[in-house]
Structures are given as structure tokens and as C-alpha cells.
């Protein structure tokens, strides 16, 4: 889970990993694949969901997922079954043959999430995936992501809701001014900050303030 103040560089980091931005320097390795040298191979095992759901208004959720399955070269029968499962799972079953043009933000976010998952990526990258979702949908998405993690996928996501990070994250990274200033499990972060049994919010503020003071 990536945390950081506004403008810290969380989205930029995710976009670089996803191949949407080219870093000025450094290297990106995705499951041992050099994402800068062989972006196509790296993209094959990744799924990306931006904070602003980018879907096609004139396509139905099923058509959208069929398009994505085609882009990732998923075997059609398998993609078909997965798409239908995801649509049902995300509560879009009654809308699967409706064009997305009048979907609410939450529904669009769910369609986009289904798109990020339909090719069963090993690495799922999500930028603020819970923005705009109601409590029920947010719970549903968290369940879906937890399920993916259990089945062996890795999820990297950003969030401003520290409670979610506290509950869901195995490891937390804090980005400030474009640098990773802290990284580890919740207890490792507590140790590094030296704040004992304080909340993640207290730790986050302490880390960011420490970094700002150092800068």
C-alpha cells in the first residue's frame, strides 16, 4: 500500500511501473522482468486501474471485458467465464448489456476494476480504487482484492484512507517529495518511527513531517 501527501508522487510511481511514464533514471523490475527493456512482457502480467475509471461509454460491461480479454490475448472461453463471474461478483449482472454511458461513478469504477482483473494479472496496480464507492461496494472490492492476494497475486495500491491501509496492507510504503521515505509492515513502521502503539495516522504524519523537516 502506498501512502503519501497530495502531490508526493504516488500516482507517478504507479504510472511508471505500469509503463505509462518513462522514468528519467533507475530500473523497474516486475517479477524479474525488466519493465523498461521489455515493457510488453511486463504488461502481460499486470493489471492497471487509474483513479479516474477509463471506460468506453458506448460499450456494455461485457463488451468492455471482451475487448480487454482480446488485448491481453486471453483464451475466449476462459475470458468469457471469468468476465461473467466478475460481473456477477461486482453486482453488475443486471447491467451487463447496458452501455456504460449512464453508469454512476461507482458502477464505472466496478467495470474498470473488472477490466483490471479479467486477465488474471499477477500484479494488480490500483490508484485510489475505492474513491467514489459506497460502503457496500467498497467492502466488495476489498473482498475481491483480498481473494486475489490469497490466490497468489500481488496488489499495489494507493489510498488516502489510512484505515484501509491499516486493515488491508501487508506492507506499507510512504512516499514524500517523490522519495520512498518509509517502508515495511505496520509494526516495522511503528518501530522505525518510535511511536509505540500509535495509529497509522499518527505514524504517517510523523514520517511526513520528519521528511519535510529534513528537506
Amino acid at each position: 500500500m502506498l501512502l503519501g501527501p497530495n502531490g508526493a508522487g504516488k500516482t507517478t510511481t504507479l504510472r511508471m511501473i505500469s509503463g505509462l511514464l518513462r522514468p528519467d533514471e533507475g530500473a523497474i523490475s516486475v517479477f524479474g522482468i525488466d519493465a523498461l527493456a521489455d515493457p510488453v512482457a511486463a504488461k502481460r502480467i499486470m493489471g492497471w486501474l487509474s483513479d479516474e475509471p477509463m471506460i468506453y461509454d458506448k460499450l456494455t460491461p461485457i463488451e468492455y471485458l471482451e475487448f480487454i480479454a482480446g488485448l491481453w490475448g486471453v483464451e475466449p472461453a476462459m475470458a468469457d467465464a471469468r468476465a461473467r463471474d466478475l460481473i456477477e461478483w461486482l453486482g453488475l449482472g443486471n447491467h451487463r448489456h447496458e452501455r456504460c454511458e449512464q453508469f454512476s461513478r461507482g458502477m464505472r469504477q466496478k467495470v474498470a476494476l473488472a477490466g483490471a482483473l479479467v486477465h488474471e494479472p499477477k500484479l494488480i496496480i490500483l490508484d485510489e480504487p475505492l474513491t467514489g464507492l459506497d460502503a457496500v461496494s467498497a467492502r466488495l472490492v476489498k473482498t475481491v482484492l483480498a481473494e486475489r492476494v490469497r490466490s497468489g497475486s500481488t496488489v499495489i495500491m494507493t489510498t488516502h484512507i489510512l484505515e484501509i491501509a491499516e486493515r488491508m496492507a501487508d506492507r506499507i510504503g510512504v512516499i514524500s517529495n517523490g522519495r520512498l521515505v518509509a517502508e515495511g509492515t505496520l509494526s516495522e513502521l511503528r518501530d522505525s518511527v518510535g511511536t509505540g502503539g500509535s495509529s497509522l495516522e499518527d505514524m504517517f504524519i510523523a514520517i511526513v513531517e520528519r521528511d519535510s523537516a529534513a528537506a
Binding site: D57, F67, G70, L71, R99
Partner: protein, 524 residues
């Protein structure tokens, strides 16, 4: 200072919005372009006046007692601009109903919405009138300079036509809305607007083909048949033409009648616009039914998935359908000429440039939609496909669509003359490929709904695309006529493409790519 919510307050608000909107459209949102745009506008006005002067240099001054052929020609010109204005106004009315923008804010405020809509209807009339004045004004100015100030009355006629056309557009759109409901009106109105825009020109051309065997509208209007069947010279029907020719009595009558019509229509319908807008925003979700419910996903490669997606999006775009319909409508007269040529046994060289020009324009629009108007650029960019393959698939989708539209025409032409069909097919392919290449070099990231404004992002791309289509049309015509000049014209067309490539941001992108920088550094 005007009180909030009054008619004058809304007028100021709309004027401010219209001005910033126009400015942003002309400058593509860049403030540093304002001076260039102003200079370009002055140059355009100067050029149009030169064109008008050249066109009218040998025309005789028409007195206040014109003959019937003159009245017919002026009335036809008025109807021509009237149909264009009606089409434009219908599109604007549809936009008012269906574009949410600030409507929700205004409708949820205590300000009386009928005033806003009355002002918006007036703004439409002003906008369509000004647009026509920009194009026709230079001709009126030259006529006034040569024949006296009475000619300035033509400006009044344009204003009267714009008021009438706007009022008619309101009536037509509202009638459609009430007849077929908010769900279908959007598409129906856009198609009707496109049909109306082309109807008069196409109708005249078709009548000309039947009567004179050519597409010359003037020959038809001057024919004995039209003169014999036109209303008498003293009929009220000619009052707008007489007003345009400087008869002040006719001018006052035409202006009064159109203004009264406009006021009555605005007063009648403006209070109901809020209801229409609300009904339009409450349209139930569009469903395509259950026909695909049990259809399994098809075996697809990434390229075919991209092509299929582009085809679906193009087919479901009402604006694009209306524009394509317009292109197809303009192909009706040449198609009719083609059919007539069979019976007459003639060879229709005239058809080749029409097809080539239309193909270039259609391909340019489609290429913009598929290349620049990608609504999910991140999704496509994160797919495991090389960017070149993505672009290739998109261009293939464009060329497929152009092929589907023009194949029947080429097949028809092949029956008439295989050589000309081959030439036309070559021209269509060259013009379409060139237009797609220009859109590729000048690609930018935009939303599909910005299609109407695609020309503002790069004037070079717009002009290159137009000149490329024209030169390929000329090349094909010369080749169809067996002239060796076709080779020179083809070289000219390639030269235009080379210039576009040289001036394109794509060249800059390539120059500054990491590979090139590394290569330059290595050389150094």
C-alpha cells in the same frame, strides 16, 4: 449593474461564456495565440474580400427592378444559406437539451430558467447569423462599394433568415421531442440537421442532373423550365430577394415578419425548455437488449479486438453517424449522375474527384476519432502490445470503414469504366491514407466528444488534410482524363504530405526520443 436573474443579467452571462468559448476554440486554449488568431482573422477577411472582388468583377449592377432569373438566383442563395443555418440551429437546440454543463446549476437555482433559455435561443440566432455574415459579408461589401449602400440591406436579410431558421429549428426539435421522446430525439435531430444542411444543395444538384445532365446548379436555376414555373415577378415570394437587392420596403416587411415569428416562438417554447432538458437528462439507461446474452467471447487477436472496438464505437456515435450520413448524402448527386451515365452512355470523369474528396474528409474525421479521441488511453497503453501495432489496428479500422462506404460506388463506376474505377480506387486509397497519416503525425490526447473541435488543435493538420484531399482529387481527375499532368499533381500531393510531416510534432517527438538522443550523443 443589472439585477441577478434578469434577462440582461443572463445576456451578460451568456455573452461572457460565448466569448471565452469562441476564444478558446480559436486559440485552442493558448493565450499566446490570440494575436496570431487576430492577424489570421484579418488576413482571412482580406482574402475573402479579394475573392468576392474577383468573382463580382464583371457582374452588372442590378437595379431596384430586377428580372425574374435574378430574383430566382438570389432566392436560391437565401434558401441555401437558410438551410445551412437551420441545420446549425437544430444542432444547437439539441445541444441545449442534452448537454448538462451548467444546466443542473441553473435549474436548481431560484432564477427563472425561461429567461435563460430565451437568451440562449437568441444567442443561437446571433451565432448562426454571424457565421453566415462572415462568409457572405465580403460579397455584400463589394456589392455595396460598387453599387451603392442599398446593398447593405442584404445584412438585414441574413439577420432575418437567421431569426427564422432558429425559430424553425426550435419548432422542429420540440416536435421531434414530443413525437418520438427524449431517448430517440438526439440521434433523430442530428440526422435531420445533417439532412437539412445538405438537402437544398443536393436537391438542386439532382434537379440539375435530371434537367441539364450536369451537377451545375446555376444552369438549372437559369433554365427556361424554372423561369416558366416560378411565381410571378410581383409575388410576395420574392420579397426577401428584393430586400437583399436593396428595396427598403421589402426589407422592413421581411425583418418585421421574421422578428415577430422569432419572438412568438421564443415566448411559446422557452418556458418549456427546462422540462425538455430535465426529460432528456432522465432518459433511462440505454440497453442493447439480450441478444448478446449467451454469445460467447470470440477468438480475437489484440489487433482484431482493437478494430472491433473502434467499429462498435463508430457505429454507436450519433454525431458521427449524422456526419457520415452527410458525406453519403453529398454522394447522392454523383451516384445519380453515375446512374444517368449508364443510360446516356457517357463517361463520368466528374465523379472521380467527388469520391476522392469525400473519402479524404471521411478518413480524416474517423482517424481523429480513433487515434486522438481514445477515451481510455491508459488502458490501451498498459496492454501488452507494441504501440505501433495499436496504431496500425486503429488505422486499419478507419480504412475498413472508408472501404465499406465507397466500395459500392467504385463497383458502380467499374461497370461504367473499369479504368476510371481503378483510378478512383487509387485516389480514395491515397487520400484516405494521407488523411490518416496526417492525423497520426498530429495526434493529441482528447475525448471523443471533442470531435467538433478537432480542427482547433492544429491548423496545420486541418489545412494539410484539406489540401491533401484536394490534390489527390485533382491527381485522380487528371489520371482519369488520361493527362500526364497527373504525375506532377501526385508529386505535389506527396510534397504536401512531406511538409505536414516536417511541421508535425511527431517529428519533434522522434527527434527527442531517448534512442535518438543516445545516438546523437554517441556520434558526438
Amino acid at each position: 449593474m443589472t439585477g441577478s436573474g434578469t434577462l440582461a443579467w443572463f445576456e451578460r452571462h451568456e455573452l461572457r461564456l460565448a466569448w471565452s468559448d469562441t476564444l478558446s476554440m480559436m486559440t485552442a486554449g493558448r493565450r499566446d495565440r490570440e494575436r496570431k488568431v487576430a492577424a489570421g482573422f484579418i488576413a482571412f477577411a482580406g482574402l475573402m474580400h479579394l475573392v468576392a472582388f474577383w468573382t463580382l468583377r464583371e457582374s452588372d449592377d442590378v437595379g431596384l427592378d430586377p428580372d425574374l432569373p435574378t430574383l430566382i438566383a438570389v432566392t436560391a442563395a437565401a434558401l441555401l444559406s437558410g438551410s445551412a443555418m437551420l441545420s446549425q440551429a437544430m444542432e444547437s437546440v439539441t445541444r441545449i437539451f442534452y448537454t448538462r454543463s451548467d444546466l443542473e446549476l441553473i435549474l436548481s437555482s431560484p432564477a427563472p430558467a425561461r429567461r435563460l433559455f430565451a437568451v440562449r435561443i437568441a444567442a443561437m440566432a446571433l451565432s448562426v447569423g454571424l457565421m453566415s455574415m462572415v462568409l457572405i459579408g465580403p460579397f455584400i461589401d463589394i456589392l455595396a462599394w460598387r453599387g451603392g449602400l442599398r446593398w447593405l440591406g442584404a445584412y438585414g436579410v441574413i439577420a432575418a433568415i437567421s431569426l427564422t431558421a432558429t425559430a424553425l429549428a426550435v419548432i422542429l426539435t420540440v416536435t421531434l421531442f414530443q413525437a418520438i421522446g427524449p431517448k430517440r430525439t438526439r440521434l433523430a435531430a442530428q440526422i435531420t440537421a445533417a439532412a437539412i444542411g445538405g438537402m437544398f444543395v443536393i436537391g438542386l444538384q439532382m434537379a440539375a442532373i435530371f434537367s441539364t445532365g450536369t451537377t451545375s446548379r446555376l444552369a438549372f436555376l437559369e433554365s427556361d423550365y424554372v423561369v416558366a414555373h416560378a411565381p410571378g415577378i410581383h409575388s410576395l415570394f420574392w420579397w426577401p430577394a428584393r430586400a437583399a437587392l436593396g428595396d427598403w420596403l421589402s426589407m422592413v416587411a421581411v425583418a418585421t415578419a421574421s422578428l415577430a415569428f422569432f419572438i412568438v416562438v421564443t415566448a411559446r417554447f422557452a418556458p418549456r425548455f427546462a422540462d425538455f432538458a430535465l426529460a432528456a437528462s432522465s432518459v433511462p439507461q440505454t440497453s442493447i437488449g439480450n441478444r448478446g446474452a449467451h454469445r460467447l467471447f470470440r477468438v480475437e487477436t489484440a489487433s482484431s479486438a482493437l478494430r472491433r472496438k473502434e467499429r462498435l464505437l463508430l457505429m454507436r456515435d450519433p454525431w458521427l453517424i449524422s456526419q457520415s450520413l452527410m458525406q453519403v448524402l453529398y454522394l447522392l448527386p454523383p451516384a445519380l449522375l453515375l446512374w444517368r451515365s449508364f443510360t446516356a452512355g457517357g463517361v463520368a470523369v466528374i465523379l472521380v474527384p467527388v469520391f476522392v474528396m469525400a473519402a479524404g474528409q471521411l478518413a480524416g474525421g474517423l482517424a481523429w476519432l480513433t487515434i486522438s479521441g481514445e477515451d481510455a488511453p491508459d488502458l490501451v497503453a498498459t496492454a501488452p502490445i507494441p504501440p505501433t501495432r495499436i496504431l496500425r489496428a486503429k488505422i486499419e479500422a478507419v480504412l475498413e470503414c472508408v472501404g465499406v462506404v465507397f466500395l459500392p460506388f467504385i463497383a458502380g463506376l467499374a461497370l461504367l469504366s473499369p479504368n476510371q474505377a481503378l483510378t478512383a480506387a487509387f485516389g480514395i486509397a491515397a487520400a484516405s491514407a494521407s488523411a490518416a497519416a496526417i492525423q497520426l503525425w498530429f495526434r493529441s490526447q482528447a475525448k471523443r466528444n471533442q470531435f467538433r473541435r478537432r480542427h482547433t488543435s492544429s491548423r496545420i493538420a486541418t489545412f494539410s488534410e484539406a489540401f491533401s484531399s484536394i490534390t489527390w482529387a485533382a491527381t485522380s481527375t487528371l489520371a482519369a482524363a488520361g493527362s500526364r499532368m497527373a504525375v506532377i499533381m501526385a508529386l505535389f500531393a506527396i510534397g504536401i504530405l512531406a511538409c505536414a510531416r516536417f511541421l508535425s510534432p511527431e517529428r519533434g517527438r522522434r527527434k527527442s526520443s531517448p534512442k535518438n538522443i543516445a545516438r546523437t550523443a554517441a556520434r558526438a
